[in-house]
Amino acid sequence: MRISLFVTCYNDLLFPETGKAVVAILERLGHEVDFPIAQTCCGQMHYNTGYQSDALTLMRRFVSVFREAEVVCVPSSSCVAMMRDHYLKLAAQASTPGLEADVKTLLPRIYEFSELLTDKLGVEDIGAFFPHEVVLHVSCHALRSLRLGDKPARLLRKVRGLTLVEPADGEDCCGFGGTFSVKNADVSAAILAAKIQGLLATGAEVCTAVDNSCLMHIGGALQRQRTAMRTLHLAEILATSQ
């Protein structure tokens, strides 16, 4: 299968290792990966902050870049949520001929990374080896918007050597929320403090998730507090081998 990677704007700049891991996994599974260089951003940050017209421009770019893709892989549940929850509405509001139809036909071909593996490609065991205790942070968009359920956990359970542990209040938000963490930095920090407590209580060495945005937030506090826990995107765990 030819899979087009939408790496997302922040992974591109801040977390290139996640993108590389996704490429490695998909190629290991025998698929051809394509990275359309004209891609930039899904528009989530602008949309969620109230800048819908800028979000629309970014959506137009996304749609024109990926219109012909067979399958699009996105290693970020919040970006996929942006597309699934808001693209159709945004397209309907714009008076661009054909845009709504393009969005309609493109959306079913867009997969969040763990979803792509379990649902589209039908694999759970990718032969990864990661001999560490890992706690999975369930991001809000994965949980409530994409309803990924146990898909990420199923993938992790197949990783050799890996022990998966459950945090208390695992379904609570980490307090990132994009520009929320900037505009309401104090409240965001308070939410994060509660989250970190639950994660650290597990004694795990690594905190993983399907979103680097949450992980950047959680990791920022883990690092600041000099804890013995680090963050790693799910793809980077799955890309390991013996």
Partner: protein, 476 residues
């Protein structure tokens, strides 16, 4: 006409108010305890309902249906209520509602009123209006009594005094009720409230209530409660005045079969709350012999004009979204500067009062979606928050620094060429702030972020540069 929501007009913005409240560890301890208790109870009793989602769907459809035909349903309600011996008044705003209510009480020469917990009366600041007319209002809900005696503001829609612990309440009661001694067990405090209010229940001749539901078909009012104080206030006085927001209408009596299942489980985590009172007009020989309904607009018709955010009016004030909200759970209700707090407050207050003082409220959410998931009438609160954020930006009311940042980001993301330049600029820009592999302190908008969190430093090579390099290597 001027729309007013409690004291929200003078409240500070959410981030500032929140910052102050976050340093109140007692408050945060109480909050965590209270919201955890209700959340767990709610989860348990919702889980035993096989048809919970079906009930939510029906409630959602009924509420939306009512809003589409609100004019007809209000007229129907009025007709039925009047037929049953009630009087119906219409108030455009808080001042008009207060004028009507004060007038009715003065007409009878009454000097005191007993009140059932009603958010709507807090919204119009009825107690202030009563007091300035020489009428003494007695709040009779235990939590409202605590709030009233403390000269305080409610911090939760359902349990307004959850920011107070037993020792604080004991001190307050000792002082304000003129008691010699008082224990500090919740039982003792509840008993004190019973004693304090019983004489007033039997004496006071005007009762004031809100309504959980107003039934168009029959002109009936339904009040949902736990303590029995609502039954007291709506049964014993000579005159009863019920203040009803116009969105509280449900079409038919039988629709109660939906809402009376959703509300208690969502609000207090009970299968059914101890008491529901449903009455219609005046019944000879039982209950108040004079009954007045005041239908209140106070900004609601304005909310109705926006199809996209109209569903805000579907709210049945259960408070489940507060208990589920990670933001509310940290700050409590006072940060919202309005009697309507939590996620529902973040969308209701700014719409009621023309956004003037509440520009920060639609941003008081991480958009985690927990509110929508627990909402018994399926109000898509995150969607409405986004709608309101967009309205703030479109009106040009967003902070300048934010507008510049967003515009710059939009330009940088407008294509791969500019993006690479922006990447390079960001990499250069971080140099003064980089310490090892992390950024520990940033100025300006990001200062709050780096106060308690590191930012990962930008790696030398972006993904796209790596990809290009790889493609070039492959091509060779």
């Amino acid at each position: 006409m001027s729309v007013r929501v409690g004291l929200a007009g003078t409240a500070p913005g959410f981030p500032e108010a929140a910052k102050t409240l976050l340093s109140n560890t007692q408050l945060r301890h109480n909050l965590r305890h209270a919201t955890n208790v209700i959340r767990k109870k709610r989860e348990r009793v919702v889980a035993e309902m096989p048809d919970w989602q079906d009930l939510r769907n029906t409630a959602h459809e009924i509420k939306n249906h009512v809003l589409r035909h609100l004019d007809t349903y209000l007229e129907q309600f009025e007709m039925a209520c009047v037929r049953a011996g009630g009087h119906v008044h219409w108030a455009r705003d808080a001042d008009e509602a207060n004028r009507i209510i004060v007038g009715l009480i003065q007409e009878r020469g009454h000097k005191e009123v007993i009140k059932v917990k009603t958010m709507t009366s807090d919204e119009i600041q009825l107690n202030t209006a009563l007091q300035s007319a020489g009428i003494t209002p007695y709040e009779t809900d235990l939590a409202d009594l605590i709030v009233q005696l403390g000269g305080d503001q409610p911090s939760h829609i359902v349990v307004p005094a959850l920011h107070r612990n037993r020792m604080e309440i004991r001190k307050l009661f000792l002082e304000k009720m003129g008691l010699e001694s008082l224990g500090d067990r919740p039982e003792d405090l509840t008993e004190a409230a019973r004693q304090y209010l019983r004489e007033r229940f039997l004496r006071v001749k005007t009762g004031i209530s809100g309504a959980n539901f107003a039934i168009a078909e029959t002109g009936s009012i339904c009040v949902v409660e736990s303590e029995g104080n609502a039954r007291m206030c709506t049964t014993l006085p000579e005159m009863l005045i019920t203040l009803v927001g116009i969105e509280k209408i449900i079409p038919k009596f039988r629709d109660l079969e939906v809402f009376l299942q959703l509300l208690p489980r969502s609000a207090t985590g009970e299968r059914m709350n101890p008491y529901n009172s449903i009455w219609t007009g005046v019944t000879p020989g039982s209950g108040p012999q004079a009954f007045h309904v005041v239908l209140l607009d106070n900004g609601r018709t304005k909310i109705l004009t926006d199809r996209e955010s109209r569903a805000t009016l579907d709210c049945i004030r259960c408070g489940a979204c507060l208990n589920a909200c990670p933001v509310y759970r940290q700050t409590g209700g006072h940060a919202y500067g309005s009697i309507y707090s939590g996620p529902i407050g973040a969308i209701l207050t700014p719409q009621l009062q023309s956004m003037e003082h509440s520009q920060t409220l639609p941003y008081a959410s991480s958009l985690c979606g927990a509110c929508y998931e627990v909402c018994p009438v399926k109000i898509d609160i995150p969607e409405i928050l986004l709608r309101l954020r967009n309205r703030i930006v479109s009106n040009g009311d967003a902070p300048l620094s934010e507008r510049i940042a967003m515009k710059s980001a939009a330009v940088a993301l407008s294509g791969p060429r500019l993006l690479r330049i922006a990447h390079a600029a960001a990499r250069l820009g971080q140099i003064p702030f980089k310490k090892g592999g992390a950024i520990r302190s940033l100025p300006g908008m990001l200062a709050g972020w780096t106060e308690v969190r590191d930012l990962s430093a930008i790696p030398k090579q972006s993904f796209r540069d790596w990809w290009k390099e790889r493609e070039r290597a492959k091509a060779k």
